[in-house]
């Protein structure tokens, strides 16, 4: 799903001066405040100014695939807020409007939470039903899944709760027989048939209706939250198609999960609801606050972890995260969690399928296998990132990527054919994780717990542990090993397909399988060697000393940590699954080891790797800039370049100005006092200049091609016969950011990150020297990391 985002109208201008500045509205910062406070330099209210004060359509918006200016957006919002506040006391209507405005933040996150929770519930139920459809159908009620079908039946015992006459496998239905090789082949065929149908339908829907609906969406959401515009990425079509195809993709049995796409779905909801509130729809910075909250809601419903969701949004996704957003994210996450719990998709009044409770503590010695699991997770993460990126790059660069439908069908077919014979790969991945996490209790019927099968169900809990294994466990171990290899291989080829695909569930499944294998191994070791000094003290015969399910959970966290490099949020998410403080130390040990091992092979997580693969302009807040370059080495123009295109404040004519604009493709121009002094006055955007000249020509008399243009407060003294001059001060940004040429780039990068700048002017001893844009910085960073600087694609 990598090559899908490219500018529909590839606006990639020559990259000299202010190329990161799309054509748009004047940055009202300097000029506007001067007007409103009256103390500063007040722009005299010329005719032109009045015209510019009218809202011009399209002004204040950004072009697609461009970077937003956080400072300007925040100023716009404060200005709007001041306006509403000052009007508040005028009338009851204005007061109501101000109340609506003040509450709109809470309203929009509430709506987002409600919608995310509801959609997550629908997706869970539908995916469950369709997944069971691959195996059979409920004759008494078509719309029941396997479990619901057998609930109503009173002919089944608890032990055989999966088998009931109402539920018919396809072989039973078509061939009329439930056993035998013929029926196995029939079931095999129907399983593959449904898997292929779902996958085909999913990829076709994505391809035809909403190409943005593919993949996990998290790399793009990270980029959008960092201040980039991708139109339609969070739109209603994407939402609709992503919801439908997510169900299909999960049901098709591909090695993917729904957690990442759920974040995308929640962000779509947030974006759509923000259009109901002008405060958010008209301000890109404010809209991103809603999206931060929405991504928290997404993780909240994906894992049933509201606090973990908030920390995920804070740690992994968000860029600008003020405290107010923290609070609203928390609220959105809670609302979403409550809605999902009311829907109760899993019938266990829990938010997730794999909620677990353990009853035994862990022992210090067990940290050794936990840390080993962490090492495994880190290695898997590093390997996966390299392999997946290599494969995705291959898909992008060769003609192979031109047949996405064929690719999906092929992967789905291989997955289905290989998966069916092995019970651990045949079942839903979430259910597999649940089975692996669950401790073997007396009522457990899983094959993994068959060493307890010789006992009856009435024995006390602590008696059922640390028993010798039966052949059933050995065969289960073999099947798990095969499942592990299968999952590892398929996940590499699946993530990046043109269907919605999350990475959390497959990663967790791989970790859980590895963890469970290690857990059973340690358990058997403890059983057969309970007189070793290691086990002697705490692991007596018949006592409950090893919990293989805990190993599975630790392994899952380690693998997820290795792939995403999340830390706190991951531990909190898993903590919310178990609810016990006890198991945080093993989790932390494993997750930290996994992160360190993974970082040794490459510091990027999978999302950052995909961002770089796609060339998004994402300035990572986590990565430190450690080089010693100075601003003068990064700024444009370089030594060999033509000089910087500048405007002088009072000696250009309209014609000269138009020539400069038409001869360059820069999106903005520094304004200086004079060519000789090079002293900086301000910054003017191309679009504003064009609009202003256009307006003046139409509305102001006497503006000709040889009219003088001035950006100063007072008109320059002109010869008597010259035509009326044109004042452009109102479109001038009089507070451009500047740094000196000796400023170390680490400080410049810090300023860009923290203030969310798009461009910054460079001066030397008060004279203008050049300009640095966000793209220049990203290119410079790519260069310093020995990467291709041209890989940064967008503005």
């Amino acid at each position: 799903c990598d090559d899908i985002i490219s500018p529909t109208d590839p606006y990639l201008p020559y990259d000299g001066g202010g190329d990161a500045i799309p054509l748009q509205e004047l940055p009202k910062r300097g000029s506007n405040y001067a007007m409103s406070n009256g103390g500063g330099v007040v722009s005299s209210s010329t005719h032109l100014l009045d015209l510019l004060e009218e809202p011009i359509p399209g002004v204040g918006t950004y072009d697609d695939f461009h970077t937003i200016d956080w400072v300007r957006e925040k100023c716009k919002d404060r200005e709007r807020h001041r306006k509403i506040n000052s009007k508040k006391k005028e009338s009851a209507w204005e007061f109501t409007k101000s109340l609506y405005d003040a509450w709109s933040g809470w309203l929009v996150v509430t709506l987002t939470g409600l919608a995310s929770g509801a959609l997550a519930g629908v997706i869970d139920i539908a995916a469950d039903w369709m997944n069971d459809l691959k195996e059979g159908v409920c004759l008494s009620a078509m719309w029941f899944n396997h479990e619901q079908c057998c609930w109503g039946s009173n002919e089944t015992t608890f032990a055989e709760r999966d088998k009931c006459p109402q539920w018919n496998s396809w072989a039973e239905l078509i061939l009329g027989q439930a056993e035998g090789p013929g029926s196995y082949i029939m079931n095999y065929f129907m399983y593959t048939f449904w898997a292929l149908s779902f996958a085909f339908l999913a990829v076709c829907l994505v391809k035809v209706f909403a190409p943005y609906a593919c993949g996990s969406g998290i790399p793009e959401i990270k980029t959008i939250l960092s201040g980039f515009i991708i139109r339609g990425y969070l739109g209603k079509w994407t939402l609709m198609i992503k919801t439908i195809t997510l169900v299909l993709a999960v049901a098709s049995g591909l090695s993917l999960g729904k957690e990442g796409p759920l974040v995308h779905v929640a962000c779509c909801c947030g974006n759509i609801f923000s259009y109901l509130f002008p405060k958010y729809s008209k301000n890109e910075a404010k809209k991103r606050e809603v999206l931060s909250a929405a991504s928290a809601a997404g993780v909240s419903v994906a894992f049933g972890a509201p606090i973990g969701g908030v920390l995920f949004s804070l740690e992994e996704v968000s860029y600008y995260f003020p405290l107010k957003t923290l609070w609203r994210s928390f609220f959105a996450a809670l609302v979403a969690a409550f809605v999902l719990r009311s829907i109760n998709p899993f019938g266990n009044s829990r938010l997730v399928l794999f909620y677990v409770e353990y009853h035994t503590p862990w022992y210090l010695f067990e940290l050794v296998p936990f840390i080993l699991l962490g090492v495994f997770g880190g290695l898997w993460g590093a390997f996966f990132i390299r392999a997946n990126i290599a494969w995705c790059r291959r898909r992008k660069s060769t003609r192979f990527g031109k047949y996405p439908v064929l690719e999906v069908i092929t992967v789905a077919a291989i997955t289905a054919i290989v998966a069916f014979p092995n019970p651990y790969t045949r079942q839903n991945t979430s259910e597999l994780i649940k089975e692996l996490f669950t401790d073997c209790g007396p009522l457990e019927s899983s094959q993994l717990c068959q060493y307890r099968s010789q006992m009856n169900g009435t024995r006390a809990y602590s008696d059922v542990s640390s028993q010798p294994s039966t052949p059933g466990v050995y065969s289960a171990m073999w099947q798990l090993c095969l499942a592990l290899i299968f999952k590892i291989v398929m996940t590499i080829f699946t993530f990046g397909l043109k269907v919605p695909s999350g990475l959390f569930i497959p990663s967790m499944a791989i970790g859980a399988i590895a963890g469970r294998i290690v857990g059973i191994a340690v358990e058997q070791l403890a059983y057969y060697h309970h007189d070793w000094f290691l086990f002697k003290e705490w692991c007596e015969v018949g006592a409950d000393c090893i919990t293989p399910g805990l190993y599975a959970m630790v392994g899952a966290a380690a693998c997820l940590g290795g792939v995403t490099r999340m830390t706190v949020s991951l531990v909190v998410i898993v903590f919310e699954l178990t609810g016990g403080l006890e198991y945080i130390v093993p989790l932390m040990a494993a997750v930290m080891t996994s992160k360190w091992v993974g970082d040794a092979f490459g510091r990027e997580g999978i999302y950052e790797a995909h961002i770089r693969l796609n060339g998004y302009p994402f300035l990572d807040a986590k990565e430190e800039f450690t080089h010693t370059t100075l601003a003068r080495e990064v700024m444009r123009p370089r030594r060999s370049d033509p000089p910087l295109a500048v405007l002088t404040q009072d000696d250009l004519t309209v014609e000269e100005l138009q020539t400069i604009i038409s001869e360059t493709s820069y999106n903005g121009f520094p304004v200086i006092v004079s060519k000789e002094s090079q002293r900086l006055v301000g910054f003017a955007l191309r679009r504003d200049i064009t609009i202003a000249i256009e307006n003046a020509r139409r509305k102001q008399e006497g503006i000709m091609l040889n009219s003088r243009v001035y950006f100063t407060q007072h008109a320059p003294t002109l010869p008597a016969d010259s035509p009326r001059p044109l004042k452009l001060r109102s479109i001038l940004d009089m507070s451009p950011f500047t740094v000196t040429d000796h400023t170390p780039m680490e400080i410049v990068v810090d300023i860009f990150r923290k203030l969310g700048l798009r461009q910054c002017l460079v001066t030397h001893n008060g004279r203008l020297l050049g300009i640095i844009t966000k793209k220049d910085i990203l290119r410079h960073m790519a260069q310093m990391a020995n990467q291709d600087p041209e890989s940064i694609m967008f503005n």
Copy 2:
């Protein structure tokens, strides 16, 4: 505890130009990088430069009560890191050193967590023991508290577990009788005697040994974390005395808690351990990362809420909170929690005394009383802040504040005398909260649950609810009302005394009392009117429908929220106390209501109010700057002031330079090209200039009073007979931050906050106009809020 912090050496210079800049080391930013990369302007290695490169004692440190420069500190750290990294491969020793350096962050937070947890355990146990000492003594083992004393006894039944022969009240011990008015008076007297002794000891220790140990410490820690230096505030003496006096203060029965001071204690630990690691001890910015983690550990042990502690540090205390700090804070909080749990001070294997579990759900209708509790919490918070600040201001301004010992004794005496007769005020506040939070189960012996006393203990749980109340409950209600009034009054006068005093526990107690009263009222309402349409559906007779303990918890959260204006961290802390997602919605409703109601009366929380009262230079990240002033209106010099003291880059003599320095008290001077052009070159600090001239005089031949001083790359052309010139380029900060005079102050404030600046130069059209310091901004903000700008006291 408000007036205690004042500069020991009151260095409060004239406040014109760069007064926020203490005399210190050169900001190596511009100059150093120029040297290291070789591409920029390389300072020729003069003799002077070599001398300056040597570490000069005292350089790089800050004066007491001065503001740090975050940008410079971070640059220093990166420089150090680069140095270590480049040396790493030279030898095994250097490699070990680099490893130690890389791990020192984890080491220091681990040590901090261990120490905080251990100290919290010691404080808990000691406070418990001393608290019980007021009532009696354990004859079998003096060092046992009441509960431990009776554990060993096998003569007591569960119902009378508080009474055992080993435990003797003072009356029993002295008078030999346990009942009767004489023994009551004896107990009363001994209670008051011990309370007064403890309080006297506490205030004397604080006064004599560590004046910084008083108060909660959170306002000062917030200020320190925002980048201010208060020497000794987090030192070993403060730690020692605060730990001891905290125990005494809690045991004295004053209306205070140990939660805030525990944060201070944890921060002291963090500060002390950071001295073991040069990475942290020599860098003020890095040290603050450790302090952020330490404050998380402090809250973690105070409430047994590791995640809540991290969020508290993030939401309430910290200023600069990179993701790495998040992770380390989490680790420190966990380590501290585990150590505390291993110590097990409460004997319940929980981290807090008032861990609760509820068994019944809540109903939608109950949101009404919960929101009412929120309103109460907000009103109480607003009232408390006003009353307490008024009282503290009175203490500061009148001679009344000169007798702190007398004040403490008086308050302690009143508290003890009024508290003793009422069982709810006599007991430890934490225990009171525990009792109020706890639901009435069949085994509950509290007077609050006496309406169940007619039943035997074997009845099923759901039968014991919604019973008519007995006179016992009514008398309990009366006592609770009296306790509420008593707590409200005493807390106002207690917070600010010269003893360690936290606000969390008293606030929670007030809320819990109010909540429990409301809860019992609603419960009785439901019992007597169970046929009302409101209760009809879900509140049948004998069914379990109202949980008064939950009301107490909601009330506690609301009151704490009203006082501190915390939101997410507060909800998460209380969530961690109950462990159930169910009760988050009531909590959120109450906390949000409380915050909104409180904000309607004044936006400041108690900590911000105390910061303002003390005039600390704290630039709050939460408070939005909404005014429309421009940088030119805030900068110095004002119109009536003398012009800005500047240095020209190449036409001053040593004598002229010395005159400028001696005639002004500014801590730094902008360097310009020439008086005529006013173009900015850089910024030089007074201290550096002094040191450089001193050094040159000593080490360089031919430097006289009429030697020319130059900041340029090459020496100016001088007459043939002039003495050798002095090059000062190496002490010049060539990348000072600048804004234009038209920049709105909201952007300037944003820059100061996000980058942690101390000063910023103001230019107009490339010419230098003035300077804005952090103090100027704080004064301007105070002025805009109609406060006295002179209340900002320190640099």
